[in-house]
């Protein structure tokens, strides 16, 4: 087993109940592990939520954490994966002065080359959206920074696994 710290994507399927975020995040907090990113959304199954949590830990540790997460009454199943086993994306939003869009040719090139998308434009500002790997968003951020960014934010990672998760089958066994 790899004893080096590495990025793992944790996927947790849960009942859609109040308080679970608290319980799940507390498991990381108790062990002094910083959550790199966290996203909670509905999943492919109605009434079932999916947490996508990114952490930088040793594999031995993440295995124990998965056990602790699965122990929570309303957690259906938890998995961990490395980057090679998932397809993942994050999204960044950049709010920039509209003048720059017209006056700085360089900005137009950056937008074109980065495949970023203009979400909205008005007299004062325009908003750029870029989805991709963290490095790609970071690169765009670095390139735009010298021109002045009015606001910048980045989402948590969302991920799907290359392998099947079989949650529906699992739920069927629970229901029987």
């Amino acid at each position: 087993m790899n004893t080096e710290k590495q990025l793992f994507t944790v996927s947790v399927y849960t009942e859609n109940n109040i308080g679970l975020l608290n319980r799940v995040s507390a498991i990381f907090q108790r062990r002094g592990i910083n959550i790199e990113s966290l996203n909670i959304s509905s999943s492919e199954i109605e009434g079932v939520s999916r947490f996508t949590i990114v952490v930088n830990v040793e594999e031995e540790n993440i295995k124990k954490i998965i056990g602790q997460i699965e122990k929570q009454v309303e957690v259906i199943k938890a998995y961990y994966h490395d980057d090679d086993e998932t397809i993942y994306q994050i999204s960044g939003l950049f709010k920039i002065k509209s003048d720059l869009l017209f006056e700085e040719r360089q900005i137009q090139n950056i937008i074109k080359e980065s495949s970023a998308r203009i979400v909205t434009v008005n007299k004062e500002f325009f908003v750029l959206e870029k989805s991709g790997k963290k490095e790609e968003i970071d690169l765009l951020h670095r390139e735009l920074k010298p021109f002045g960014i009015m606001q910048y934010t980045r989402s948590g990672r969302i991920a799907v696994t290359k392998d099947e998760m079989k949650i529906s089958t699992l739920l069927e066994t629970y229901n029987n």
């Binding site: 507390a26 009454v73 309303e74 739920l171």
Partner: protein, 577 residues
Amino acid sequence: MATETIKSKQTTPKITERISGSEAIVRSLIAEDVNIIYGYPGGAIMPVYDELYKYQDKIHHVLTRHEQGATHAAQGFARISGKVGVAIATSGPGATNLITGIADAQIDSTPMVCITGQVPSHLLGSDAFQETDIVGISTPVTKWNCQVTKAADIPAALAKAFYIARSGRPGPVLVDITKDAQFEEFDFSYEKCLKVRSYVPVPKTVEGSLEAAATLINSAKKPFIVWGQGVILSEAEEQFKALVEKAGIPAAWTILGASALPTSHPLNVGMLGMHGNYAPNKLTNECDVLIAIGMRFDDRVTGDLSKYAKQAKVIHFEIDPAEINKNVKADIAVLGDAKDTLSLILPLIQKNAHTEWHQKFKDLYAIEYEKVIKNDLHPTKQGLTMGEVINEINVQSKGEAAIVTDVGQHQMIACRYADFNKTKSNITSGGLGTMGFGLPAAIGAKMAAPEREVVSISGDGGYQMTIQELGTIFQQKAAVKIVVLNNEFLGMVRQWQQLFFDKRYASTEMTNPNFVAIAEGYYLKARKVTKREELAAAVKEMMESKEAYFLEVCVEKEDNVFPMVPSGASVSEVRLA
């Protein structure tokens, strides 16, 4: 996120009746066969108390003197009866005062349901009078918790609470109910919860694991069993004893596992861990197969993990999959309820004796007896020892008493030396080490098993943390026998200060009150013993008393508890002095 989804399975035809939320709480408790609850009233839970007044022929409410006492009493009740203990409190400080007991129940896997009143729902989050976010506060120390703001959700929430508290690896749950939900009327019906989707209380035993475990046990030359409370919680004592006897394997216990196998059983080789017996600690690092049953390899048991049983193949019988490989890597994990898995493995086990290996335990016991036990139980020097007091209680109770201890030196001495002939006889705070646990827990234990002799043993420190519960004992006429071993020190901390802090006794010496006068102030029979020649008669008088009895024994001020595995050391580095 959406509101709570509570699934339950209907078992009886629904008969509805229009009642208030507070009456529904009481009726739900009755439906769960609850007849004793421990608690303390206050503003946000008053509607429930009003209903309890109406239903006092069905539910006996015990007014403790502090909410912490209510949780420990509920724990004592649960530990001796195997049923769910119930504690109830108001919002705010009432609710936060439950936290210590809840945390204690969580780490010691004690089934408990706590019900707290909450400010009306329209005031939630407004810093209203006596409002706290008790669901948030209790989240890390409950197996499950929820807040109810509508009367109609009360029956299902409580049904789920009881199911979760008692099933699988038991634990505490908390249901917080707003005052408006207590007043609101709705059509009540109650269905017991038998299942919660996504919750698997007992995991499936992995195919082949029993056979693999049996093969390993049968081929072992120096097998060693370490057992914990899982044996008691799953009521597997009979199957456990049969396995130990058939396989002829020496077996040692964790503090919460005590009493699952009688102390006098020839294969019971004693207590594990920091203040455990010499032989089981030493030989943990010599056995070839370590069979852990219903125990979680707590750090007080293992000492330095990097040097713990490295030579042994480990088989772990466990109900909680998260415990597998958490501290000690298991070569074979046998998941499931111990009663089931032990029943299934028994026919696969070959009869054996392991006489030579067992003799090693006896030889090391002889060394421990000579260096430690003899002096503890039969001292020749002046000054009473804690051990001889426990020994006298053994003699007078014939090992039949349930011993409820607090936390500290007296606890280690009581657990080491008390005779346990019956299961569920050792009620103590293991994982959390909660001083103040003993006295209120003894109240709960006595009320759950009035036919049993319940002896509460405390030190002078812990006793004073919940001394107010003498009032509960007096009011409830709970015939608890209370022994305080008074060494005028926070003894265990003082021992550490002596051994590891250069005898700098910082804030551990206690100037104590007149304990006998305090007990008598609560109208309890009381006696103080300072000399050896008074001890036997005093213990006899206490045990023969039909009522509660307080006995203070002034013991040696600076006695230490040995053996001892120093914190962070290996179990085989166990010290005898």
